[in-house]
């Protein structure tokens, strides 16, 4: 029988500390101190991860059409919509954007939309 592990109590734990460079790669703690059930206990930690670095396409932004309504910011699940200090739209972070299309769907600018899908430039992996 394996030794009892007192550190297993998930109430004593925070989510693993990661930064965007190391997210998903290094400094991942042992199974002994991960929260039970893979529960994520740090809300909003998407900003610590490059959630969109696996996609071939991304979402682009046309500043001249944008009405700065921020609906895209509301629906984006990955914190990919970039705002400045005043809350003005400044662009899409393609390392975070998974091109899920939620922002394109909700964007009220018509017939041409401020947000649209585009192939990423080839990157060396």
């Amino acid at each position: 029988m394996a030794a009892q592990n007192k550190d297993l109590d998930p109430r004593k734990l925070e989510s693993p500390k990661t930064d965007s460079k190391n997210a998903g790669r290094h400094d991942i703690p042992s199974w002994r101190i991960l929260p039970n059930g893979g529960v994520i206990t740090a809300a909003g930690n998407a900003r610590d991860y490059d959630t969109g670095n696996w996609t071939r396409t991304t979402t682009r932004w046309k500043k001249e059409i944008c009405i700065n309504c921020n609906l895209c910011w509301v629906v984006c699940p990955h914190d990919a919509i970039q705002n400045d200090a005043e809350g003005n739209m400044v662009g899409v972070d393609e390392d975070k954007c998974t091109n899920c299309g939620l922002c394109i769907d909700i964007c009220p600018t018509k017939p041409e939309k401020s947000l649209f899908e585009e192939k990423k430039e080839d990157k060396k992996i």
Partner: protein
């Protein structure tokens, strides 16, 4: 306090005394009565439970998962096709480390359709990561039901618990059941401790997220540790329960005349009494025979079992589920592995019995003992089948 109750009614009584926050269920023979009786308590207001009548067992277990993730105590009862329909959600309950309690009335699986008893349903779910405890009779089903939350909710365990009781032989058998007082049950199980509850808006959490290969393995390893830790916890809770009731649960199994036995039978569930009757008869003729009735099937208490059986010349391992092309049934394989690891010389053979509630009488147990003593056995043997 003694009451004359069928197994299902005894479990409904345990459910009432536990007074869980949520019961989500869908009826199925033979366990329908647990929830049917319990729903009258809900209607009468004798419990504070939120009762969810679901459209399927898949939904029932899903509702239990949601409820438990929210930090509440959730329970359900099912059997057979119902448990099979819960299959994928059982993995989720265990993987998310949610200590739900499920009563399973062990029943055969289709096809052909049978409402009668065997262990096919529970055995098919043995790798879902649930703790599985097998009761012999209504009294033990009640006792295990009261202990279940105490085991599963332990901080080092955090694992759902399945209390398995045989269709009809336990579920519909009416006997005198010694019940605890409501207050004693409440005191025994205590308040539930919420771990990362979904409804804690001050500390929001995410359940059921995706993991990449760099996290998944660790999560599953941690889940395995919960089951490993359950071994000791089951004994600890069982010993405490024994102090309270005088009924000892300080072991993962019950033994009968096993200490000096040369030949023994091992099985799960309700047929132990039948084997005991055969043992008494054979002992009167001077044959050294005994029984080990296993109660804890998951986590499998290999070391503890081997200690009890390593001195035996032969051990007949009884499985109440079909091997389905395997080298014997699940119990056979578990115990054979344990014996091999311990490097013992006990000879074993597998006997498949009472599939779909085929009769299993003391005479059949005697035949098994004699076959083992004379060595006239195959690896897998079928008891009381028309050949």
């Amino acid at each position: 306090m003694k009451k004359t109750l069928a197994g299902n009614a005894a479990l409904a009584e345990a459910m009432r005394q536990i007074n869980p926050d949520v019961v989500a269920a869908y009826p199925i023979t033979p366990s329908s009565y647990v929830v049917e009786i319990f729903s009258t308590y809900v209607a009468d207001g004798t419990v504070e439970t939120e009762f969810v009548a679901c459209e399927s067992e898949h939904s029932a277990m899903s509702a239990c998962v949601g409820a438990a993730a929210s930090g509440t105590r959730a329970m359900t009862a099912t059997a057979s096709q119902g448990l099979a329909l819960m299959h994928e959600v059982l993995f989720n309950a265990a993987g998310l480390r949610l200590p739900i309690v499920l009563f399973n009335g062990n029943r055969a699986l289709s096809a052909p359709l049978s409402i009668h008893g065997d262990h096919s349903d529970a055995m098919a779910e043995r790798d879902t990561g649930w703790i599985q405890l097998f009761a012999e009779d209504p009294q033990e089903a009640y006792d295990l039901a009261v202990q279940a939350f105490k085991i599963g909710e332990d901080m080092n365990v955090r694992t759902p618990v399945m209390v398995c009781y045989d269709a009809f032989d336990v579920s519909h058998m009416t006997v005198n059941v010694d019940l605890l007082e409501d207050t004693e049950v409440q005191k025994f199980i205590g308040e539930t401790v919420q771990v990362n509850p979904l409804l804690d808006f001050a500390k929001p959490v995410s359940y059921g997220t995706y993991t990449n290969p760099n996290f998944y393995f660790e999560c599953r390893r941690s889940q395995h540790e919960g089951l490993e830790n359950a071994r000791a916890k089951i004994l600890e809770v069982g010993a405490n329960y024994g102090e309270l009731t005088g009924r000892d649960f300080g072991q993962h199994f019950e033994t009968y005349k096993l200490e000096d036995a040369e030949h023994a039978i091992v099985l799960l569930g309700s047929h132990a009494g039948i084997v005991k009757e055969a043992i008494d008869k054979l002992r009167a003729d001077g044959e050294k025979v005994g029984l080990l009735r296993l109660r804890t099937f998951r986590p499998f208490p290999s070391e503890e079992i081997v200690k009890e059986i390593k001195h035996l010349k032969t051990l007949a391992i009884l499985d109440r589920t079909m091997p389905s092309g395997a080298t014997g049934g699940p119990l056979f394989n578990e115990i054979n592995s344990a014996l091999k690891q311990a490097d013992t010389s006990t000879k074993t053979a597998n006997f498949i019995y009472s599939i779909g509630q085929r009769e299993f009488f003391p005479s059949h147990a005697e035949e098994i003992f004699h076959a083992m003593e004379t060595g006239k056995t195959e690896t897998v043997n079928f008891v009381n089948i028309r050949d």
